[in-house]
Symmetry: C2
Subunit: 241 residues, 2 copies
């Protein structure tokens, strides 16, 4: 537009931050990087970086993830916006507004540091052990964890973390890993069977699970893209589900 | 931070856009402004504007709403982030990244234009009648509408649009207005009664509704902040709820 001076205003920078989760050895893990530059050099942080002039936040998220962690097949990740963080003092360099994304991915690739990241690693989701993260990333990580927990409520995403045929006990362990809560097996079975499209029984198939009980029936992923009704997390204190 | 030149990079601007909905005369309405300046002068748009150097996106949203529409008591609105829009070409002036918010408010105040807005008005939610909005606001408005529809599924917000004591028919009209769908009265009653904490019966109270049936029982808002299970919108085609 003619006559518009874009340098007349206090400049903002826009960044992206990515909270990418996976399940390893039955436990929820998150992808973190060690910052190789100031500010917060040497501190753990979420991968991310500056949005370039010719790209959207979504495009920047994929590029930064590849640069800083070596994850090449970003298209598979289904990065989802969590929210945007814009407190005036959240970055010591200048006004930086950050668009945060979350993803929960099966079969995580190995990662290695690059770009601004001295190293990259899948760490167990246990924020107390690496807090404080750089910037306001503790808060972003907590919000992102809540978002993927909610995503398991209303989609069949959890089945992507099981083999093609699985027992309900194996599926339950995925929910337990992400939600950080033990679930009652009988109650879980009742909810899963009552949630249309989440799983389908594999007729006649069963698996010996090593316990004293009868072999466990096998299931495969259902076809629903959204769950009706959702499969809800255990209710917070004071509520009943 | 010393040595960091914030003017060395292509500048971004950050804006906020607000999709504020209400129910008037039983119909969903949205608050729009007529742009008083280029670009898109004379076009309808969502209220909003530039985030200032010393404020967060949330603070900017409240300030812009007051300036452009005269809504003073912004604290009551419970503005919720929808998502952030960052396509490189979405604003002809420069790189503008916009954080979008949505709210659904009872008892809407009268509004009047101000700031960059030539006028402000509550218009029926009927996008075809004022499309295309300025910028990418058609898309933002659609996303925000979807968000408030979802909010009615998992909170008791709908009861805020009824009198302190209401019939289930009155409550159903709120859901119908927001979701843009007719709901089966018997099915709706069954769902509402089965959703813990949404409503409470007012013992012994009933209201003649003018029909030939018996007087309708009266209810008041329940105490749950989140609904377990949620009260779901009619499922999209191909799904059963």
């Amino acid at each position: 537009m003619q006559g518009y001076d874009k340098h007349a205003f206090e400049p903002f920078a826009v960044t992206v931050d990515l909270a990418v989760f996976t399940i390893r050895d039955g436990a929820l893990h998150v992808l973190l990087v060690e910052r190789g530059q100031e500010p917060y050099a040497g501190r753990w942080a979420l991968p991310g970086g500056f949005v370039l002039p010719d790209e959207s936040a979504e495009a920047a998220a994929g590029r930064e993830l590849a640069e800083e962690t070596g994850i090449a097949d970003v298209g598979r990740l289904h990065l989802e916006q969590v929210r945007t963080y814009s407190d005036p003092d959240r970055d010591p360099r200048m006004r930086v507004v950050s668009v945060a994304f979350a993803a929960l991915v099966p079969d995580p690739p190995e990662v290695h540091g690059g770009g601004d990241a001295a190293r990259a690693a899948w760490l167990p989701y246990s924020p107390a052990t690496y807090r404080p993260l750089a910037f306001d990333h503790d808060r972003i990580l907590a919000d992102a964890h809540d978002r993927i927990g909610a995503k398991l409520e209303y989609t069949g995403l959890a089945t992507a973390f099981c083999a093609p045929e699985f027992t309900l006990g194996e599926l339950r362990q995925v929910y337990e890993a992400v939600w950080g809560a033990e679930l009652d097996p009988a109650n879980f079975r009742r909810k899963v069977v009552g949630t249309a499209g989440l799983v389908e029984a594999v007729p006649g198939a069963a698996r010996l699970t090593g316990g004293r009980g009868k072999p466990a029936a096998l299931f495969r992923a259902g076809t629903a893209s959204a769950l009706h009704p959702p499969l809800l997390r255990p209710a917070p204190e004071g509520q009943t589900s």
